[in-house]
Structures are given as C-alpha cells and as structure tokens.
C-alpha cells in the first residue's frame, strides 16, 4: 500500500500523465468541436489512425516533424470532409457514417502503409520529437520536470485547450458554432449558413483529432503499426460527455484518465499475482463508469445528431 502511495509522489509519474494525456487532449478537443456544432464524429478512431500513419510517413519520407504534423492535420481534414458531406448536406445517419469513416480511414492507412513501406521483422522507425526543456521554467524542482520537460506537441495540446475554449466562448465564430449545435434555425435567421458552419467544424475537429494520432507515431513512439490507436478515439468520445462538452473540463477529464492509466502501468510492476489484463481493462471500465456518473446531468447540445434541412422543422 505504501508503495502504491509512493508512486504518486514521483515526478516521473506526473510527467507520464501529461504524455499519456496528450493524444486524448487532441482527440477530445476535436470531437468536442464537431459535437458543439451538432455533428457526432465516430470517425475519430480511424482519423487518429490516419493521422498516426500520415504523420509518421511524412517524416519517414524525409519531411521534418512539424511537416509531419501538418500533413496529418490535412489528412484528418480530408476524412472529416467526407464525414461532413455525408452527414450535413445529405443528412445521413451520423452513427453509421462515422463508423464507416473509421473503417475507411483505418483500412486506407494500413493499405497505404503496406504499399509504400518495406516492413522487415521490425517496423521501420523515425527520429521522433525529443523532450524540449523550457528555459528557466524546467529548472523548477518537480514542476519543471513534470510540466516543462515535455515534447513540443504536448505544449501545443495544452495551448490548444486555451485557444479552443477562448474561441468557443468569446468569439463571434465560436458563438455561431455553438448556436449551430443548439438551434441551427436561429443561425439561419441570423443570415449565417448552418450547413457551411457544420462542415467547417467537422473538418477542423477532424484535423485536431488527427494530431492526436500523429503524436503517437512522432513523439510517444517512433513507428507505426496496425491497431496502435487502441480505442483511444472511443475513449475521447466518452470523455466529451464526461466533460459536458466544455474544453476546460475536457482537459481535466483527459488528465484524470491519464493519471489513472499511468498509475495502473506502474502498479503492475509493484502488485504481484494480478493478471496484467485486469490492469489493461481498467481504462475502458473507467470510461464506462465515468459515462454512467455524468450521463444524467450532461447538457447535450440540443441539435446534436439532428440533421439540418432548410425550411424543415
């Protein structure tokens, strides 16, 4: 028991929390932007896979790491565009279209990876992002090691939370987006085009999701392999509900989740006799429990999953 407690006081655990949270932060922010505009994006799992593949491949082919991230965003936006076209102007089932996008984006990623990359006994690797110590701040004991000795995409993720929160709450663009998710007819009455707003929201959201995947292959690991997203996308969809569709709470949710994950990873080495599968199950079980706890109180965007057709109520 003491050992379990000691784990919680190590800086390396808390540094790992931020590392594990990073792809979730990107994913949950992306999903949140889509849903605040009224579109559920179950393509997330596949879009993250595609971001992971495209980001990695760009670097493998000689691009630099930031170009890799940019290409991942682009690929994510393309997939988001397909989902948006099917669900917004055509008003098709967001559930089925999203699952279709997940199947398509992951299958396409695996296909192109096999086609373009020679895989030997081990998957080929790239030089990934290295931790970047923020000058001066990283010298602060404990906090410096936890907060200011991360890889650059982690800083991007943390800043993005602030940017998205500010955009949604304080800008006319954010207001229009939120209104599209609550009452698209009112948006139309204001002379704005809810269809266009939704399409852009889904594309931007999908681009951000793809960054979460790209983090896995360009910072957390240095190679790409099938199945590497491991349900992180679905966990993000659960986290959006947990966060009541708010960016700040989404950050807290992702961090709590990552804390739990980092803690169970270390606990595995301390506690003996418990099968490792039980530890690995814990994050998924936790997501379901979190959903049960908040589902009743959650304030869902009014028009989420309601297709908008002009002049139809």
């Amino acid at each position: 028991m003491m050992e379990a407690f000691e784990i919680l006081t190590t800086a390396s655990l808390w540094a790992a929390v931020l590392r594990i949270a990073t792809p979730l932060i990107f994913g949950v922010l992306g999903a949140l932007i889509c849903e605040r505009a009224g579109v559920l994006n179950l393509g997330i799992e596949g879009i993250m896979t595609m971001g992971a593949m495209v980001g990695w491949l760009t670097v493998y082919w000689g691009g630099d790491l930031w170009t890799g991230l940019a290409m991942a965003v682009l690929a994510g936006m393309v997939m988001g565009w397909v989902h948006a076209m099917l669900t917004v102007p055509l008003g098709l089932s967001q559930h089925v279209s999203g699952l279709g996008i997940t199947l398509l984006a992951s299958a396409l990623s695996y296909y192109l990876y096999r086609l373009w990359v020679e895989v030997g006994d081990l998957p080929p690797t790239i030089e990934p992002f290295l931790p970047w110590a923020v000058p001066f701040l990283s010298d602060i004991p404990f906090v410096g090691e936890v907060l200011f000795t991360q890889t650059p995409p982690t800083y991007v993720a943390l800043m993005l939370v602030g940017v998205v929160a500010w955009m949604l709450a304080r800008t006319p663009m954010g207001l229009a987006l939120r209104m599209t998710g609550e009452n698209p007819h009112a948006v139309e009455a204001q002379g704005l085009n809810p269809v266009r707003i939704r399409i852009w929201a889904v594309m931007v959201g999908s681009g951000i999701m793809a960054l979460g995947g790209a983090f896995l292959t360009t910072a957390a690991f240095n190679s790409f392999f099938p199945g590497m997203v491991q349900g992180r996308g679905w966990i993000c969809i659960a986290l959006v509900v947990f966060a009541s569709w708010r960016p700040g709470k989404a950050l807290i949710g992702a961090l709590l989740f990552a804390l739990f994950d980092a803690f169970q990873l270390r606990l595995q080495t301390v506690v003996e006799g418990v099968p490792y599968q039980l530890f690995l199950m814990a994050p998924y079980v936790l997501s379901i429990v979190a959903l049960i706890l908040v589902a009743r109180r959650a304030r869902v965007p009014e028009a989420l999953m309601q297709p908008y057709r002009r002049g139809e109520r």
Binding site: H95, L104, Y111, G231, V241, P275
Partner: protein, 349 residues
C-alpha cells in the same frame, strides 16, 4: 436542392441500392489497386478465383460467411430498432468462450441434440447478457450505447486473453495461449467432407428465416419497427418501448453470441484471442448492405466473405496488400448509406 420522402420504397430500388454501392466501391478501389502497379481487372479476377476457383476455395468462402450471417443479422435486428449495437465482436467472443467452457467437459455424456441445444443456449445467453448491460445503461441512465458497446469489445478481448491464459488454458497446447478444446463428440458435423464447411451455415440460414418471420409476422416485429422509426409516436400508440428494446438487445446479443459458439463448435474447436478476424465489425457492413433485411443479410454475408477470402488469395498472387478488402468494405458501407438515401428520398429542386 431538397429531399422529399418517397411514398413507398420499391423492392427493385432496395435490390439495386446494394448492387450500386458494391459497384461504386469496386470502381473507387480500382484506383488503389492500380497504385500497387497491378491491373484492377487482374486483381478482381484473382479475387473471384481465390473465392470460388476451386472446391476448397468455395468451402472456405462459405465457412467465412456463416458467422457473418449471424453477426450481420445481430446488427440488422438492433439497427432496425435504432439500438446501435457495435459490440458484436465482444458478444461473439463471449459466446465462443461459453461454448468452449461448457463443451470441453461439462456436457460430455448428454444426448447429442440436447448438448448442442444447451451449448447454443449458453452462447446466446453469454452474448445477450453482454448487450443487455449497455442497453439497460441507455434506458436507465441515458448512456449512449455506441460508446459502451465499443469499449466493451476491448474489455472482452482482454477478458478472453485472461481466460485462455488462465482458468480455460489448454495445458496440452505447448504453452500457446488457447482455450481447452471442445470435446470431439460435440463438434458440429461437416457439411462437405474434407473441408472446414460445417452445418453451421445451415443453422445460420434457418435462424435468418425464423427472424424474418418474427419480424414480418409478429407483434414484436411491428413494435421493433415502430420503436426504430419514431419512438415517441410509438410510445404514444402504446408500444412498450423499454420492453421492446430489452428484447431486441437480448435477440441481437444472442445472435452474435451464437455466431461465436458455432465458430468454436464447428471449424475451430477452441478459443484464442484471434478467433475472430473482425466478424463483429464486418457484421455492421453486412447489415447495412442488406438494408437491414434478414434475407439480404445472407447475400451480403456471402459478398463480404468473398471479398475477404478472395483478397487473401489475390494478395498472395499479385502482392497487392490484403487490407484492400477492408477498404472495399468501408467504401461499400458509405456508398450504401448514400444509395439508401435515394431509395427513401427523391431529390427536388
């Protein structure tokens, strides 16, 4: 441009829609095959040959189709009631585990038909319970079942790992993580000698017919459809929505569990963590291509099995990655979604 609901959906449109979707998928994927430096014609011809070119190929294709019929049917009955069961994969594994656990020793000595009935019931119960949990969570707490069923797939796969490395581990498997085998006397008989094709496919088709009759001829069938089309109107008309959805969940989960049980009792004989090459997820594609119709599920399953078995052979012959099969499935699913729009709506300017 606006959409207007058609008065009634014609049967020919419902048959043309999947054909059009499949054609669109094959045309779009031809570009991807060409990128691999292989002529799409050659590749598709190789796929057909790989799926139907020999006696062995044909039996393999139908062996692959049998679990897909049941997982596809599982998705179709659930989607019809707007119960988004994406957990077919997990339910399949729970059914498989139940069949292996009971079929290894517990049921030895039972009269054969009774033992098979018990094993099928156990598989169905295991799958049904797994879907009952998310269904009740939705009805009781308003938790979206898409996310919970998806997350349960990951949990179940880890649970399978736990079982085949733990209490159900086969001590005779040279340390491989696989479950104890089903007793030889309880395995389902072969349909075609010297092949893996077994009576499971006949069972699956019988189940399809039963479900079709239930859906078209019983009150429960009508209630399911009403709950799916417009739950509020259905509730107003006196349809017990909660009870209907619980029944649908039990049926859907049970069908996917049955698929797992039959796969273990038929061609495989034991459980591993790679027992299913995504039967649960492919079932969703099958259900959509079938336009959620039970009879269409059989045809769609054969098509999906053809693509998967054919792609493996085609990949060996031409070097095109076999992941092309998954791409074809995904594109066909999305194309079908669009095609269905035009069967139920017409476009007006």
């Amino acid at each position: 441009m606006r959409f207007e609901r058609r008065e009634e959906v014609s049967v020919s449109a419902l048959i043309l829609a999947p054909l059009g979707a499949v054609l669109a998928a094959l045309v779009l994927c031809a570009g991807l095959i060409a990128m691999a430096g292989v002529s799409p014609w050659t590749a598709y011809a190789e796929m057909l040959r790989g799926a139907f070119g020999s006696r062995l190929a044909v039996t393999e294709t139908f062996t692959r189709a049998s679990p897909l019929i049941l997982t596809g049917l599982a998705a179709a009955v659930a989607f019809r009631a707007r119960l988004w069961n994406i957990g077919g994969e997990g339910q399949f594994y729970m059914g498989a585990l139940a069949a292996a656990a009971l079929g290894h020793s517990v049921l030895i000595g039972w009269p054969l038909p009774l033992a098979w009935a018990a094993l099928a019931a156990a598989g169905m119960a295991a799958g049904a319970v797994l879907l009952l949990v998310p269904a009740l969570l939705r009805l009781r707490f308003g938790v979206d079942e898409v996310v919970t069923t998806l997350l349960l797939n990951f949990i179940v796969l880890l649970f399978v790992g736990l079982m085949v490395e733990g209490v159900l581990k086969d001590p005779m498997a040279f340390g491989w993580p696989q479950s104890v085998p089903v007793a030889a006397g309880l395995r389902l008989p072969d349909l075609v000698p010297r092949s893996r094709l077994h009576v499971g496919i006949v069972l699956a088709v019988v189940v399809v017919l039963v479900v079709w009759l239930v859906q078209s001829r019983t009150v429960f069938g009508a209630e399911t459809r009403a709950a799916g089309l417009n739950p509020r109107a259905a509730a107003f008309a006196g349809v017990p929505i909660t009870a209907t959805l619980v029944k649908v969940a039990l049926l859907s989960g049970g069908l996917a569990g049955l698929a797992g049980a039959i796969e273990v009792l038929g061609p495989v004989g034991y459980v591993t963590t790679t027992l299913s090459p995504g039967f649960g997820y492919a079932g969703i594609v099958v259900a959509m291509l079938a336009a959620l119709h039970p009879l269409g599920v059989v045809a769609a399953s054969v098509f999906v099995a053809t693509v998967f078995v054919g792609a493996d052979a085609m990949s060996r012959a031409t070097g095109v990655p076999s992941f092309i099969a998954d791409v074809i499935m995904a594109v066909a699913l999305l194309a079908m979604l669009v095609a269905l729009l035009f069967t139920t709506y017409r476009v007006r300017r």
